[in-house]
């Protein structure tokens, strides 16, 4: 039995939206859907032309289920329209820009009007409230502050909740633990792997997190497993809550677990979920596993209509014992594409290929090896030496390896290890090399 410090339940007014009766919620979703489709149709040329190709107008949407008529939006649409092509608001109405890495070295840019920031704050307030946090809590926000949405998203939410926020950002583990102890922190936001590292480091510093006031961890920005959760909860005595979000939709605060910890409630008054067959695009019935597709029902600056998240999950049938009417999705276990998440940064093997091609002229055999050290993801790229790149001078080979690392850093925004290896050392099956070895998660 895991000893979990119980949280005191109080009610934040924003959380009222979590309990709206399903029929009313559907009505709200339908009216918001019509408005957002009209907005995107009027203001986003790509969406308008795709609608026209299908002979659709905003008036074609006559019920909530008509959403299935609408075209999908993909990550490559954001890339192709870089930087501002999908904006539905003029820049003078946009109060914030964030960015996340794309597939070609150019980031994906997302925008917020003041109203969007307010919605984001509100869903983060509801997220924190749903996992038992409230006015008076001291929240250590160890998500990175900057272009990444995690830091500021959690920050505004914590302030909106009326909690005390410590904007410590990521890194410097010893200082994190000192602050956690000395400031009487009651909740922490970071990636689950980083928190595991904090637990280990705290033990080395003779600090047992179970003795501290800390009682909730809001963990996200990377996939994690139920066994990791169990380890975190056992070792630290806190309740480890899974939060889900993505920059393209809003950032963190798309969905969160309640204390039942059986699925993540989607804030579907703002983010309408569908599960589709990733091959055919057909909408799947409730309970079936498929790709999560989200529509932002209220986002002004950058409406996302039927955005394909590539995350594989299922919508869980039945009402949660917590009483929320918001539907739940199963925790994300895998993706339908080959995207990797490394320290919260999106990485595609195609980016690695582009960098290698850039340096070497032709694509060598390579392999991405992911491990986790001190709770931080490590990425190593093994590159087979070719007759063209090989030199009899050590300096030339070291220069090659540095050049590859520089090119990768340029594309990924992440410093990774490069190791030159002998030809034919990377295993090939049926002529194709296995591109990614992920040793981060316990199987």
């Amino acid at each position: 039995m895991i000893a979990v410090k119980e949280s005191c339940q109080t009610f934040h007014p924003d959380s009222a939206q979590d309990y709206v009766p399903p029929a009313l919620l559907a009505e709200l979703q339908f009216s918001r859907l019509k408005a957002i489709v009209a907005r995107a149709f009027d203001r986003v040329p790509l969406f308008r032309s795709r609608m026209s190709d299908r002979a659709l107008t905003p008036e074609s949407i006559t019920s909530l289920s008509d959403i299935a008529l609408l075209p999908f939006t993909t990550k490559s649409d954001l890339r192709d329209t870089y930087p501002f092509g999908l904006f539905a608001s003029p820049m003078e109405e946009i109060v914030r820009l964030h960015a996340s890495s794309g597939t070609t070295g150019k980031p994906i840019v997302v925008a917020y009007t003041q109203q969007d920031v307010d919605v984001w704050t509100s869903v983060m307030v509801r997220s924190f409230a749903a996992c038992g946090l409230h006015h008076g809590d001291i929240i250590q926000n160890a998500y990175g502050y900057g272009l990444f949405t995690g830091g500021l998203g959690a920050h505004y939410g914590a302030e909106g909740l009326g909690a005390t926020v410590i904007p410590i950002s990521g890194g410097n583990t010893d200082r994190q633990i000192m602050v956690m102890k000395d400031f009487g922190v009651t909740a922490i936001c970071c990636t689950p792997s980083y928190f595991l590292h904090m637990i280990e480091r705290a033990a080395e510093m003779d600090i047992d997190i179970r003795d501290l006031p800390l009682r909730v961890g809001v963990f996200g920005a990377e996939p994690w497993t139920p066994s990791m959760r169990k380890r975190i909860e056992t070792l630290s005595g806190i309740r480890a809550i899974d939060i889900y979000g993505l920059s393209e939709i809003i950032g963190p605060g798309v969905a969160i677990e309640c204390p039942e910890q059986s699925g993540l409630h989607i804030f579907e008054d703002h983010f309408y979920p569908e599960i589709i067959d990733p091959e055919t695009g057909a909408v799947l019935p409730e309970g079936e596993e498929g790709e999560l597709v989200l529509t932002t029902l209220s986002k002004h600056a950058m409406p996302m209509i039927r955005y394909r998240t590539r995350d594989i999950t299922a919508l869980l049938p039945g009402r949660c014992p917590c009483g929320r009417s918001l539907r739940r999705m199963r925790r994300i276990g895998r993706r339908s594409d080959d995207m990797l998440i490394i320290r919260g940064v999106n990485v595609f093997p195609s980016q690695v290929e582009a960098a290698l091609l850039d340096v070497e002229g032709t694509l060598p055999h390579y392999q991405i090896v992911l491990t986790r050290m001190h709770g931080l993801d490590q990425m190593e790229v093994l590159v087979e030496v070719t007759p063209e790149t090989f030199s009899d001078r050590i300096g030339a080979l070291e220069e090659l390896s540095t050049k590859i690392a520089d090119a990768l850093e340029h594309v990924l925004g992440l410093r990774v290890q490069v190791r030159l290896v002998e030809p034919h050392t990377i295993q090939r099956s049926e002529g194709k090399a296995k591109r990614v070895i992920d040793r981060r998660l316990p199987s």
Binding site: P387, F390, S391, D392, R393, R419, L420, V421, E422
Partner: protein, 143 residues
């Protein structure tokens, strides 16, 4: 006058050096000189062999990455200062010695050295002008 040197890429791991050596031994190819340069995670085996074309074919057929580089072999007296007479020639010169190593045996009181210059041809001219004996492949084989 230039000598063909074979370089073979090797990961800096136990047992990785032996494979090319075994192959050459099996094929009766003699390594006249060798040097191993190592960085933190990889190494380069550089060898001078009796029949470099055949050695290269055999190595490449086994999947090794081989590079052929032209190097310069010189003979110097095997006594203190033998090497510096050569190095003195290049002091203050724009010609750069990338690396060097020595043959294992002394012959007639003379040691043979391998130099890898960035520009071998002007280097050979300079060596000769300085009175240094530059060895060709035949001379090496007869040592």
């Amino acid at each position: 006058m230039k000598i063909q040197q074979l370089s073979i890429f090797s990961e800096n791991k136990p047992g990785h050096l032996i494979a090319p050596c075994r192959l050459l031994a099996r094929e009766g190819i003699n390594m006249q000189a060798m040097s191993l340069a190592d960085a933190q995670r990889f190494g380069i085996l550089r060898i001078i062999v009796s029949d470099w074309q055949r050695a290269r074919r055999l190595l490449e057929a086994e999947g090794f990455v081989v590079r052929v580089t032209e190097v310069v072999a010189v003979e110097v007296p095997d006594h203190p200062g033998g090497l510096s007479t050569v190095l003195d020639l290049f002091e203050g010169s724009t010609l750069n010695i990338e690396y060097m190593y020595a043959f294992p045996f002394v012959h007639d009181g003379k040691a043979a050295l391998i130099f890898r210059f960035d520009y071998p041809d002007p280097a050979i001219d300079k060596l000769r002008a300085g009175g240094i004996t530059v060895l060709d492949a035949d001379a090496l084989n007869n040592r």
